[in-house]
């Protein structure tokens, strides 16, 4: 088993899926010759040819809208949105089309489409590129939302997403693309959608995290441990449908919870997590569920980014607060 980065794991998954199923194809801006601006699709054009690895015109609504048609026509498109912040352009094709075709047609049609997009901060991009917009998509019935935090999960979740009969938004934390390597089986394996993962078990407080914030949560847990606080880190992996059971089980054990995400605070998916916890684990809670998040401002310019983003320090503060509550 080789140690690979997350971007390599994603690349492997795409290659395997295309090998196994001739209906799988990738399309998007710069995914062909250039292999994607992050190299997620590197080498695929050479291996699978122009018909299945398609550099599209610069038009996100066309990418997703035509992919909806491709999917209904029998293909299994994997569409790339170059950066998550540009997904606004195709909100309609996701929110009223991809996610509702099964419902509209009462099951005659379905849309086995994966939309991949890199997201999150920490890499000093220009405006819009770093936005964390997952909350929008968790509020769209018919769509699944998945985000990995490790190379292993990235590959296994992506293979599950491509197999899924329904549309899946698969968002990839840019800052973790090359952050570390991990042993990943070269062959096919799947990590099932819908299941959270206990990234670190602990007893005193549950930190609910996903994607780019999982390593931050682990770092905070490490520091908390040094202060004698035992933190359980839950990596949601699938945001929609959410694994309520795993969250509640953990909070019932620890009695305390903190949610962390990069997205702006108000209306972020952390609100849903907090709402669920207090609803289902009310009597177990020793303290309010706190949220450590981006602020209610647009994602800032690079020079301010580090201060704006949640980090282990801010998370630790919240952990300490709920423990001392």
């Amino acid at each position: 088993m080789a140690k690979v980065t997350m971007i390599q794991a994603i690349n492997q998954a795409l290659g395997l899926a295309m090998e196994r199923d001739p209906k799988v194809m990738v399309l998007g801006e710069d995914v062909g010759k250039n292999g994607g601006v992050f190299r997620a699709t590197e080498g695929l054009l050479d291996r699978f040819g122009e018909a299945r690895v398609v550099d599209t015109p610069l038009a996100e609504s066309a990418i997703v809208g035509s992919a909806v048609g491709l999917a209904m026509g029998g293909m299994r498109p994997v569409a790339e949105i170059q950066f998550f912040g540009f997904i606004y352009e195709t909100m309609d094709q996701i929110g009223t089309q991809a996610s509702r075709m099964r419902f509209r047609s009462q099951g005659r049609f379905h849309v086995p489409l994966v939309i991949r997009a890199p997201f999150g901060g920490g890499v000093r991009t220009p405006e819009i590129h770093s936005d964390s917009l997952e909350a929008f998509f968790c509020h769209m019935p018919g769509l699944k939302v998945v985000t990995p935090s490790t190379p292993y999960d990235a590959k296994g979740l992506l293979l599950s997403a491509i197999q899924d009969p329904d549309p899946v938004l698969f968002i990839e934390p840019m800052r973790l693309y090359r952050a570390f390597r991990e042993e990943v089986p070269e062959d096919w394996y799947e990590v099932p959608l819908g299941h959270a993962r206990i990234a670190k078990s602990g007893d005193d407080v549950t930190v609910v995290a996903w994607g780019p914030m999982v390593p931050v949560a682990e770092a905070a847990a490490e520091k908390a441990g040094q202060e004698g606080i035992s933190v359980e880190v839950l990596d949601l992996r699938t945001l929609s449908p959410i694994d309520t059971q795993a969250i509640i089980a953990s909070v019932q054990k620890t009695g305390r919870a903190v949610v962390v995400h990069e997205a702006v605070r108000t209306g972020g998916f952390g609100a849903e997590v907090a709402a669920l916890i207090q609803e289902h684990a009310f009597l177990s809670l020793e303290a309010p569920v706190l949220r450590v998040t981006g602020y209610d401002t647009p994602f800032p310019v690079p020079s301010i980014e580090d201060l704006w983003l949640p980090d282990a320090g801010r998370l630790l503060e919240a952990i300490t607060t709920v423990v001392r509550y």
Partner: protein, 358 residues
Amino acid sequence: MKPDKEFPIRRVIDEDGQLVGDRSGVTDDELKEFYRWLVTLRTLDQRAWNLQRQGRIGTYPPFSGQEATQVGVVAALDRMDWICGSYRDWAALAYAGVPLYYPLLNSMGHPVSGNIPDSVQALPVQVVIAAQILHAVGLAWSAKLQGQDRVAVTFFGDGATSQGDFHEALNLASVMKAPVIFVAQNNQWAISVPISRQMNSQTIAQRSLAYNIEGVRVDGNDIIAVFQTLKEVAARVRAGKGPALVEAVTYRLGAHTTADDPTRYRPSDEEARLSHGEPVARLKRYLLGAGILGEEDFQRIDDEAKATVDEAVKTAESYPKSASETVFDHVYQDLTEPLKQQRAAFRQRVAEGGGQRG
């Protein structure tokens, strides 16, 4: 550029039903069949209007005036070709094989109307203006990738041409050489907005120039011209020559929907002038003039149409209600955990007789 020169309106029979072009390729029998369909559809459409007025169905978007385009286009297709239309394209779907009670069920808010029978290669009707145009591109593209001998046809209105999705679709289709036929039904109005405010161009067809694809203009009230045009265009598209844009010039005979009042914005003299050439009366005049059908035929066809529509109304009104909990069935292939719980709560609530307003 002179759009009227470069994109002349193709026409075979004029408003008065006079032959002014070449009818070749369309037999008398085909014409009789077309006429039967047009009358049936018109009858259905008018009945639906009345049913709405009687409160028996909900909001309904009439297609009166556009029957020739919708039927003429579909008649030129193969059975496996894809059809992607909007809320106003039930005439196309019906001719393609969707039962006549479907549009009624749709306006009654019955979910089954989205489930187009498997025998018909068509998407459910689209409410979001222009969204289906991109689906047609994808479907055509998928056919090409899978070596299927299929084209995709998409219907949309003059208003839809202003949407970004229209542009993105035509550009992508042109680049991918996807076998799509884009049928713009230029019925002159987008609710209250006339085409002259929708665009500052004389034709929709000229938009084809931007994408380097074929563009043609046809009299959408002349079913012969529509049928011939589509036959030719479809042959070229099927042969891999790339997509084509067809502008069918027609007229929305009545209101936008049963909720609309066109007297607020539409001059009655325009209505009178442009209604004269409407497709059903036009074909009737031609058939009569050419001696293909006579008065007693027309009476019989009208009677049959009425009977057919009566039947459709009966079917619609006696159609089994779908259990309301089916609302949970087709969100995903498998019920998710949250939905399982929600369905259970919903079931209980329904069992307890909840959900009446207030």
